[in-house]
Structures are given as structure tokens and as C-alpha cells.
Symmetry: C2
Subunit: 132 residues, 2 copies
DNA sequence: GTCCATACTCTCTTTTGGGTAAGTATAAAT
DNA sequence: ATTTATACTTACCCAAAAGAGAGTATGGAC
């Protein structure tokens, strides 16, 4: 069970349904695969150019990378510094807000590292149950 | 910046690319809006029937609710207890694994509660920048 | 006999996500 | 003169996700 103090705090704020909806929208926005991965990469590597992010994030297309970075910039999670040179150079880094989110997510990463085998086991057990 | 100790620990485990992929898949799987919301609801309300979850999770369709619950069951995050009565009765609750994930997510919820106004501000600022 | 409750399940349609490929700008290297 | 490098943007397309709504099973209340 989660930390009782934090839960308590959470419950107190969560009285207003309008706030609820905002937070849920936020969760929906931020609980996205690419966003999470980019936050992780930018946490490990404070300052990245577009190409570096692209290489560090295998499987992402240029389109999705641009799109996700733009959304993150709009939400104030990353800053974007453009150097007016040729060829173009753009640097991305987490803002304080983004770094805070990264820290919040840290627990989830740790959990995932620690329990992915449990999930594999659960899946195997579920499959066995279905067949039997 | 995230807790250095935890980061350190994370980096040590994350050497094997196969493990990396598994964890990323897991994050992709679990970092889903409805999953997060259902975990939250089941944390606050230990035992829920289908209809209760449906009501507690505004906007979710029956189809998505069933689908998400099934996926969570398959991954060992929730348990499903069927009472063979008419009309049907099914109880859902978090497993220990699910409760652990809930705890890990707790930080993200707190963050969201604390910073959704910052994000709103960031969006407004971004919009203003675009127009000017 | 009809209706209700519950937890689905199925089908159909719309929406979204995301891939591919091409285009843009321009200075420097060849 | 052509190629290269970089960080996009745009247009087009497909497949997967998700919503809407009807159908199902069945025992008990009326």
C-alpha cells in the first residue's frame, strides 16, 4: 500500500472534480511510451540534439520524435534551444518541471526493473489456466 | 534530478539490452491511462465490482474496462473472483504485485496534483509565444 | 409472461497513432 | 556543380485502438 501520508495529502486535494479531470488529463498526456522514454533519456543525458535523441530512442520515427518533443515543450517539460547555424542545431534539455516528473517516474522504472519477471510468470500462469 | 542512489541502481541493472527491451515493453504496457486510473481506484477502494469500477472511472466504455481488466489480470496486477450467481457478480482487487505498482505510481500522482497548474501556465506561455 | 439486474461479448464505425517518403534551407567540403 | 549534414515539415496511407450500441444468459420479482 502506498505511503499513508502521501495518500492522505492526495485525498485532500482531490476533492474538486474539476481538478480531478485536469489531473487525469495530465496523466493521460504524460503516461505515454515515447514521453516516458524521452524523459528517461534526457535524464541520463542532460543535453541532447535531435539526432542523438533519435539514436537513443530506437524505433521512434522522426515524425513521432518531433511530435513528442513539441508536446513536451508545450507542456513545459523540455526546453528547446535553436542555434541559427547551418546545418541546423537544436538542443533539448529537461526543464525543472520535466526533471521533477522524471524523479516521480523513477519509482515506476525501479518497479519495472524489479518485477518484470513476476509479470512474465503471471502471464505464463494465466496462459496455462486458459488452456487447462 | 532523481535520487542518485536509485538511478545508480537502475543503471547497474540496465546493462542487458534484452532486459531493457522487456522493461520498455512493460512500461509501454503499464503506462496506459486506463490502467493507471484503475490502479488508483482499486487502491482507494480495495474491492470493486465491474459496475462500481465503471462508475468510478468516468468516460471508460464497457469494452475498454473489460479489456483493461483482462490485461491487468493476465499481468498479475488484479485478481478476479467470480461468484456463480444470477445476476453475475465479479469482484476485482489488486494483487500484491498491483499494489506495488500502485505505490510506485504514487509519486506520479502527487506530482500531477502538485504541478498541473504549472503545465497550464506552460501551455498558455507556449501559445502566447506562437502568436507573438 | 415480462422485466430487471449484471457482466460481459460481438459487430460496426470512427478516430487516432504512427510509418514512409519526399521536400526545404544553406553553408561547407569535394 | 554536386554532395553532405541537420532538423525538421508536409502529405499520404494503413492498421490498430476505441466508441456506440445491440445481444446473451438466467434466476427471481412482479
Amino acid at each position: 500500500m502506498p505511503d499513508p501520508d502521501l495518500r492522505q495529502e492526495l485525498r485532500q486535494i482531490e476533492t474538486d472534480p474539476a481538478v480531478d479531470r485536469l489531473v487525469e488529463e495530465l496523466i493521460g498526456r504524460v503516461a505515454d511510451k515515447w514521453t516516458m522514454l524521452l524523459i528517461e533519456i534526457l535524464t541520463e543525458n542532460a543535453c541532447c540534439r535531435f539526432g542523438e535523441l533519435s539514436r537513443a530512442c530506437p524505433g521512434i520515427s522522426q515524425k513521432m520524435l518531433t511530435q513528442t518533443l513539441r508536446a513536451m515543450e508545450r507542456d513545459g517539460l523540455v526546453s528547446r534551444k535553436v542555434y541559427p547555424v547551418v546545418p541546423p542545431k537544436v538542443e533539448y534539455r529537461l526543464t525543472d518541471l520535466g526533471a521533477g516528473l522524471s524523479k516521480a517516474f523513477c519509482g515506476v522504472w525501479i518497479w519495472a526493473e524489479a518485477h518484470y519477471t513476476d509479470i512474465q510468470d503471471a502471464r505464463a500462469a494465466y496462459a496455462a489456466r486458459q488452456e487447462g
